[in-house]
Symmetry: C2
Subunit: 218 residues, 2 copies
DNA sequence: TAGATTGTTAATCGATTAACAATC
DNA sequence: TAGATTGTTAATCGATTAACAATC
């Protein structure tokens, strides 16, 4: 029995449920109804129940959901109940920032190495994580299992690096480069396009500016 | 006459259109049909035409779209045809990485200052951009116009900082803190929740793992 | 048992795709 | 003019919300 196909919209909401449940746990809340959670999160109770029931019946009629249980179940669904080994390709600004950001580790995302081409960076350690020579990528990957490769290289070398990673068997890429990678079907890519996010914000600013402008004229 | 309400789905696609049109321009392409663009971008031609026609008729029957013209029109729609002044609050890993990332400037997003509470950081400059004392935030904002505040502070101080920014008249926040900010209706927030992005990737990895597992058994 | 709240089906809403008349 | 391709209306598809029977 396979999972039925889950829509992207649902997958996007799961981490947010997980976050709110974590906060409820921290404040000692033991159980919560879809209705109470919906008010906290500003979504409909119906949506919460629909979303969760894609994966199973985690609640109990007349009671609601046990916070800790649901938190752990969502963690399992998200695959963060286990260790995920990562490498970061590109030791520039973002590569180093991500390496320094120790929060990922708390969720089981362990950075095993950083790769770069610059001889100024190679050999140095960031938070105990070695910066290795990009030349040695293939050798490194043949020696250990890496679940996720983080791509923080310039746009013009991103595809080439991705190809090398995929040739080594990497199946998941967290892509910070500002382009759409071409990858085989069995490789998953999650994009973080910061400039596109910033442009969306900019859109909303100018949309507001337009509205105010026309408002004054009416 | 006001813009009609544009759906979020459309807004998210605009920066990607802009990016592809920019690349076409660079390779010297003068005109393109919705059909050719749709093949490049892996969307339907219908969607491209529908999206664009939310904002006006930019094409010409029998000809298609002029690449440079459309590129510039989308830039206007996105509000990136003008300068946007930004400040970054939080001079940690991400704050510094964003400050160092000079690509934003090319799109008119100018970082005017960096703010921090740490005396080790205050007074130092990153790429010519001063790190100021968080204490002086209100004074600074009274003296110049800032369009966007970038929030790269720890989760537990983010709301407090946001409140201060809003009190100073900031209307747009690019939020990297891992929480949902509470802001008035006239303030726009764009979130970059990196851990949620990483969890979505993790979900897809484990989804694939499940499928393969069940495949072997069948 | 009565009350509460889920799980799930049905209804609605919105977004995407298809089709085609308008027009360059 | 004929061919190409848009702008736009109509049809379809999918996601969200509402409703309610099941059940703890």
């Amino acid at each position: 029995m396979e999972r039925k196909e889950i829509s992207n919209a649902v997958i996007k909401r799961l981490p947010r449920y997980h976050r709110y449940l974590g906060e409820l746990m921290e404040s000692g809340v033991e159980r919560i109804s879809s209705n109470d959670l919906s008010e906290k999160m500003n979504v409909t109770a119906s949506q919460i129940r629909q979303d969760l029931n894609n994966f199973g019946g985690f609640g109990q009629q007349g009671y609601g959901y046990n916070v800790e249980y649901l938190y752990n179940e969502i963690a399992k669904i998200l695959g963060i109940d286990r260790q995920n080994n990562m490498i970061i390709i590109g030791g520039g600004n973002f590569g180093q920032a991500l390496t320094n950001y120790s929060n990922f580790e708390r969720r089981g995302f362990m950075i095993q190495a950083l790769f770069d081409v610059s001889h100024e960076r190679i050999g140095k350690s960031v938070r105990g994580i070695r910066t290795l020579d990009m030349k040695d990528l293939e050798e490194f990957l043949s020696g250990c299992h890496i679940d996720i490769a983080v791509l923080t290289v310039p746009k013009n070398s991103a595809q080439e690096v991705a190809d090398r990673l995929i040739a080594c068997g990497i199946k998941a890429i967290w892509n910070f480069a500002h382009l759409d990678l071409k990858v085989p079907d069995d490789v998953v890519v999650e994009n973080v396009h910061l400039s596109e996010s910033l442009m969306q914000l900019s859109y909303r600013i100018s949309e507001k500016r337009d509205k105010e402008g026309s408002g004054q004229n009416s």
